[in-house]
């Protein structure tokens, strides 16, 4: 039988950037943490692939496990910190084993929480342990806590945010410098801001993992990563960013989840947002999340969404919650009470759109295009031809009023077939937050 002031004994699996950052934080703030939760948090065990690798932190006092899953069986541990990564494999086996052994789990693993979150939450609830995952979304921003506890008294109808720092950095630099995507991506890779394989970040998958978690938390429904509509930022051009600026917008890679009477819409895509809006002012590697409560109103949190320090801050905040005895439900309601997912197809989305066409500058082109829009009952707010070059190609930029995605998709397919349209039409959704 342990006394409430005994140390919380933890095992950390994975000693990469976040793992060593977590060790460093726990060692730096040992006394501060004790003063805040009335007990020490002690690293009793660690596991990583290579025991001899130099990591700049001293973990020699902790028991070493070559096999992370075996660490789950260490009878001294109160909690296991999973920083291995990946939706399946060792990470999943470790978390399942730890829960099965009755240990609390803290994880930074967004892929696992997005794809296995419900299953794990149910197992944790049955075992009477905490499954905490603050670090899995928006790094150092305590957005899980903000929604799960800060907005606990609210019905939430929409949550959205800039959930990927790499993409936001690239879009911010593109806007400031006028440079194109490929060029800025290459520079970001050289600076270490983007991975050598950047697709998780720039193609929207990382943001979609995080959005799926936020959706479940905000709306009390099952995590449904498969239902997220995902588009990345590769097709955003410097020209679109410039035109957006002239219209008072910035282009951001947004994750948006919205609950209606019909179901839940989840989408990740480049989006024009008012430049002056709170979310529009989140720049560079920063993340920002907005949640709309029916009593609290619109709430935004902004901060560092990645990196060793911010992620370790979130991991240890979860451990302090466990040490203090704060045990809220994983997804804000009992896992057994999560509502089934009711995904809305992207076709049913409605909103205004920005359309950019590359056309041969000849009489009649605009008439052809607007006739197609008329056929689909799409109402045009503005049409501007950028430049004048008879017989050459020019850009035509249109803003259309709120319309259905299905109508827009069909209209653009027809427009793309016009002889005078020389490139695939560009379409970017607008959100007037």
């Amino acid at each position: 039988m342990r006394c409430p002031s005994d140390p919380l004994r933890i095992g950390i699996a994975g000693l990469g950037t976040v793992g060593t950052g977590t060790v460093r934080l726990l060692q730096t703030h040992d006394e501060l943490i004790r003063s805040r939760c009335g007990r020490h948090i002690r690293i009793a065990a660690v596991s990583a692939r290579d025991r001899r690798k130099g990591r700049g932190v001293d973990v020699s006092a902790a028991r070493w496990y070559d096999d992370a899953v075996a660490m789950a069986g260490d009878p001294e541990l109160d909690a296991v910190v999973e920083l291995v990564g990946g939706a399946d494999g060792v990470a999943l086996a470790l978390v399942r084993a730890a829960i099965g052994e009755g240990r609390h789990v803290v994880t930074a693993n967004k892929a696992m929480m997005a794809e296995r979150g419900c299953e794990l939450a149910r197992a944790a609830e049955q075992a009477g342990v905490t499954l905490a995952y603050e670090a899995s979304v928006a790094g150092g921003i305590p957005v899980i806590k903000l929604i799960r506890e800060g907005l606990a008294a609210n019905g939430v109808s929409r949550v959205y945010g800039i959930l990927n720092g790499t993409s936001n950095y690239i879009l911010s630099v593109m806007r400031e410098s006028g440079r194109e995507f490929d060029d800025v991506l290459a520079e970001a890779q050289a600076l270490g801001y983007a991975e050598s394989d950047p697709s998780f970040d720039v193609d929207g998958v990382d943001a979609a993992h995080k959005l799926a978690i936020l959706t479940s938390l905000a709306f009390g429904c099952e995590v449904d990563f498969g239902a997220v509509h995902i588009e990345g930022i590769r097709h955003v051009s410097a020209m679109d960013i410039r035109y957006a600026g002239e219209l008072g917008y910035k282009i951001k890679l947004l994750g948006v989840a919205r609950r209606t009477d019909e179901g839940v819409e989840q989408r990740v895509h480049p989006c024009m947002v008012p430049a002056e809006s709170p979310i529009g002012s989140v720049e560079g590697v920063y993340n920002g999340v907005v949640a709309e409560g029916d009593f609290a109103g619109s709430l935004m949190a902004e901060g560092r969404g990645a990196g060793a320090g911010p992620t370790a801050s979130a991991v240890v905040a979860d451990l302090i919650d466990i040490a203090r005895g704060n045990r809220p439900p994983t997804f804000a309601v009992a896992a057994s009470a999560l509502a089934p997912s009711r995904p809305l197809p992207m076709d049913s989305h409605r909103g205004p759109y920005y359309i950019r066409l590359t056309v041969v500058d000849l009489p009649g082109v605009i008439a052809d295009v607007t006739a197609i829009f008329r056929d689909f009952e799409i109402s045009i707010e503005s049409i501007v031809q950028r430049g004048r070059a008879p017989g050459e190609t020019v850009s035509v930029v249109m803003i259309v009023h709120e319309t259905a995605e299905a109508a827009m998709t069909s209209a653009l397919a027809r427009i793309a077939k016009l002889d005078s349209v020389t490139e695939r039409p560009q379409m970017i959704r607008i959100e007037d937050f």
Copy 2:
């Protein structure tokens, strides 16, 4: 003996805007709240001055107390919600009595928490009950939770924010319209955004109450409202706001708390902040709070800082925490472990300054002013005379590099005595966040 799934039985004292908002929220979301904390929150008792007053909510099922303090003795209550207001009087007596009776307390009372926070936290700790006050700072933004729990793993060195929506609204409208303070204040009063006696808001006292609470929470030291340097916004002119804009700044009423090796600086005053900074983009009645953690980095939360809905959201979030069994220390560390306040005098502040002088446009004036700055070893970044009107008065705007407040105050006192200086010099501190 109560079962953990029994309702949490509460008594609400004060049925003004926030009190009726809280009743409305609890009645609207009764089932949602039960799903989130596994038990109902039931209003078992209420107290207000006039039982017959129409309030648009039905509290007939609750026991009525004419005397709020007597309600603290109601043996059925688990928690008391204090929404009476005022640092002393009934509010304080009620909270003391409730704690003494072993009941949890939730309060929205910033004046009481700023002036009696330590005493009440110690009493609550001794009695083994929670003293929760999320609603006392920044309304619907869960900034108490964010610092106390979200940043629990961090050493925090600075916390600052826009803590008064009325002042921020006035400054925002002044900037957008170019109108003067008195004019915008009168309009805000007519619209109900400012009180008929606006001094608590526009003279900085309200923001100072909130800052004192945040300081204690962020730094683990005793609440010391008396140590806050307070200036309001009455002396900010449309001209200063315009010049600030030309320099890339906005003027905001900020509360800033900073911890150094020497002690803690707490100040509320108008401040120039970069227009593009996160805090600079908080407009209108919105509040924004930034906390800087040594691992998490800079974190901002923005939202509605006042009003029935947002404040009720914070009150009920505290009740849900209590119902869920989340019992963090009042000021993030045990009340008995709060460090003594070590206030730094405003004179020891260092930073850049904006200075605007009204002078007679005669040769030699600038030489006189710069000679005084030289005598105090104040380094000038720029001097610009606005307009040209020989023999008439003109404005001279100066930006000085980081300097000590004491030197600046002395220099301005000397400058004010120059014959050619016709008005009290304007001085606004700059923060390059």
